[in-house]
Each structure stands twice: as C-alpha cells, then as structure tokens.
Symmetry: C2
Subunit: 233 residues, 2 copies
DNA sequence: ACCTGAACACCGTTCAAGT
DNA sequence: ACCTGAACACCGTTCAAGT
C-alpha cells in the first residue's frame, strides 16, 4: 500500500560467492536463486497478469517444492518489487556528458524506452506507483534529473519537472496497457455507448473509445510538457 | 483486468418503485440496497484501502447475512465498479454554454475537482484505469470533450487531447495518492538513499522524495499541456 | 423477491522437520 | 544452508434451502 522507496536488498544472500556457478547435472533443475525466481515470476506475470502470480504456481514452475520460495524472499510483495524493477533496466545512450543540444532527444529516448518496457510487460505500469523504488527505477530517475539539470532547469524546479514527467509517463502507460488488453471490450463499450444514450454525444462523435493513435498522442503530450518545463530558446 | 467500458447497469433491479422509501422500524437495519452496499463499500475502502474490502466484512458492516450481497451484485468486481463511479460524481459549473474565454477555467475546475475527489478516496485513482467506465466517469469525459471542442480543438485532435489530459490527471493522482500515505516511509527512503550510494547524487541533492509541492506541480504541468493542446491566441 | 449458512476450492504464510 | 509437506487462517463464490 505504501510507497516504500530505497533499495530492495533483503536480508537474504543476494549472491553466493563460493558456489560453483550453477553446474546443471542431468535433467534436474538448477538450484533456486533470486535470479531464477524473478525471471520466472516475470514470465508468469506476462502470461497471466498480476492475478496470475501465485506463490504455489511460481514454485511449481520452478520445479521446486511449494514453500521453498520463502527461504529466498520474505513474501509475495518482495517478488512483485523484484519483478518490477528487473523489467525496468535502462541501457541508455553512453553515460558521458550529453551535449547541450541533445538533452531533448535524450529525455525522449529514455521516456519512450521506459514506456515501451512497461508495455512489453503490461502488469508493470500499474505496479510501479505502489511499489518500492528499486535500483533500476532510481537509475532512471537519477538520469532524468541529471539531464534536466544539465538542460538548465533550476534546482528549485527540478523535483516538479521530474514528477511531472513521471506522472505523465505513468498515466499514459497505465491507461494504454489496460485498454490495450481489450480491443473487443472497447468496441463493445463504444457500441453500448451508442445504444445507451444521447447523454454522451461528444464522446460518441469522437469515437473516444476507438481508433486512437496512442503512440502519437504520447509523443505530442510529452512535447508540450517539455516545451513548458524547459522552454526552447 | 480488461477495461470494460459502457454503463454499469446490472441485470438486477437498480430501483424498486413500489417499495416504501425505506421506513426504518425499530433499531433494525434498513433493507439491503445497492445504494447502501455502495456507500458502505466506500467507507470500508476509505478506511482500509483496496485490500480492506472483503465481501464478508462488507456484509457484516451492513448487518446482513454473509452471502446476501450476491443477490444484489454479481461479484466483487461489480462492487469496485460501483464504488469507484459513485465517488466521481461531478457537479460542475452550470451546464449552460461556457463563454469562449472561460474554457480554460472550466477545464481547470473540472480536472482539479476530479483529482481532489480521488485524493479524498485514495484507493480510487489506481482503480480508475482498470475498471468499467461508469456514468459519472463518462459524464466527465463528455464534459471535457465538449469544452475542448468549444475551445477550438479540431475533431481530429479531440481524442488525443482528451486522453492526454486523462493520462496526466490519472498519473499525477495515482502517484500522489500512494506517496501521500507514507510520509514516514518516504523520509526513510530518502535516508536510505543517502546511505545507500553515491549513485544517485542528483536525486539526493534535489531531495526528490521529500518536500514536494504536489498541488503546484500539478497545476503547472496542466498549464503546459493546455498551452500545447489549445494554444492561447 | 429477498436472504441465509454450509460447503467448496482456493490462497499466502508459518512451522517443525528433514538433508 | 537449503528445501519440504502438513496445517492454519483466511478468501470469493456456489448452492440448496429458507421466508
């Protein structure tokens, strides 16, 4: 419920140094590890959404006994936190200084990549605002802040600028991810709207629930925001 | 999971015309009704969040037998849909034509009221993008579309404009609602950040996780978006 | 038409126990 | 150190039954 920030490092071993790097003997599954757990959790989430992730199923998919997971993670919440952050890694443009003229492109690239990463894992966008801020998420925020700062945003305005962009990306992606899953539903909804009433003529005329250029709308809105946040000279 | 649009009118009676308007005899509870169910659901959600709403608890709070609810609603999903929409009613400015110069104020008023309504019920913002579009939500979208249209937005751009504003409001409110619940957590997170690393100097310097003027930032970003969507002459 | 309790099929998590 | 099954305390929902 609460937004717990900071690192996601648990009390349990993140790495074991002594163990041979997972030598697979026979057809048996490799040993459990946080990496394997997270990777499989992402697969299940991709396949069946947030509700599709159950601890028992996750263990089963890993070929492990039902309750083995609880040695590696504290609870299901932690699985969500780790899966979310694992999906948001950013390999951006080279980390060396961004030339003055390039800041706008750098921001666009990072935010569009962010959105694309989340749309590849449609469960992730709705999770992001409620969960812990893992290292990959913090990396993106740090990068965003640095670029904006380099682009000339005053320190006093920096938080406002970062959060405005965050809010916009989150909102656009959550909406898109949810509507994306249900083209049929949306068509049906638009149908029902037409039937339902003359109370919503504008929505109906605009066919609000259909035929949207989400990607274009996203870029346009982002342009507007950036124009406002960092006026072009 | 899917965004089911359209009305939320179930197959069950929305109103009973014949029954006396709920004459309460003695200390006994009035009869169950969708209205009472929804009102109590909102109370529980306000008190304990999305996870705090359980069908048994809801029935108990209504003084009804555990399973009586299922005659009135199909399932828990429907309770969410109804509770959400019930919280988003808009009594806006008088419905007569808005003068040309007033459109910006009208949009601001409606969207700030929307955000405020959701912040009063912090569970509602995260629910909005995933649930059915009830009549109150559709009303707001209709109104938004009408004002934008009157303000001069071309039909071809109308959907993009509506969704941009929707996305921004949703994103801003979800973020705010979640961070709002946990001032202590955020302070702790910022602490941990400082400890954690020199990897996030910008975030740390800006104290991103603290001291934010959320309301001001919301208005500012909204201004930028509107400037872009409907250029001032 | 409206309400009810018992019962079913789950779930997350704890715990004492194994190796 | 790592894994396990049995068991607990829940849930949403169905159903046959009441009035």
């Amino acid at each position: 419920m609460a937004a717990k920030g900071g690192g996601a490092q648990g009390k349990r071993p993140q790495r074991r140094v002594e163990s041979v790097p997972s030598v697979q003997q026979g057809g048996s599954e490799p040993a459990l590890s946080i990496e394997r757990i997270v990777a499989t959790a992402v697969e299940l989430l991709d396949a069946d959404g947030v509700d599709g992730l159950k601890m028992r199923r996750l263990a089963e998919s890993l070929g492990a006994g039902a309750m083995s997971l609880y040695w590696h993670v504290d609870n299901k919440e932690e699985v969500f936190d780790l899966a979310l952050d694992s999906v948001l890694e950013y390999r951006g443009p080279p980390p060396r200084g961004i030339e003055a003229a390039e800041w706008r492109g750098a921001i666009f690239h990072m935010l569009e990549d962010w959105r694309a990463s989340m749309l590849r894992h449609p469960w992730s966008a709705s999770l992001l605002p409620r969960r812990a801020l893992g290292p990959n998420i913090l990396n993106r925020l740090e990068l965003l802040g640095r670029i904006l700062s380099d682009a000339g945003v005053a320190d006093a305005d920096l938080n406002g600028a970062i959060w405005s962009l965050w809010n916009y990306v989150i909102g656009a992606t959550i909406t898109r991810a949810n509507f994306d899953l249900s083209d049929d539903d949306m068509a049906a909804a638009q149908q029902r709207l037409a039937h339902l009433s003359e109370k919503y003529p504008t929505i109906e005329r605009a066919r609000l629930l259909l035929d949207n250029d989400w990607d274009g709308a996203f870029r346009k809105g982002l342009d507007f925001l950036l124009d406002g946040l960092v006026p072009r000279q």
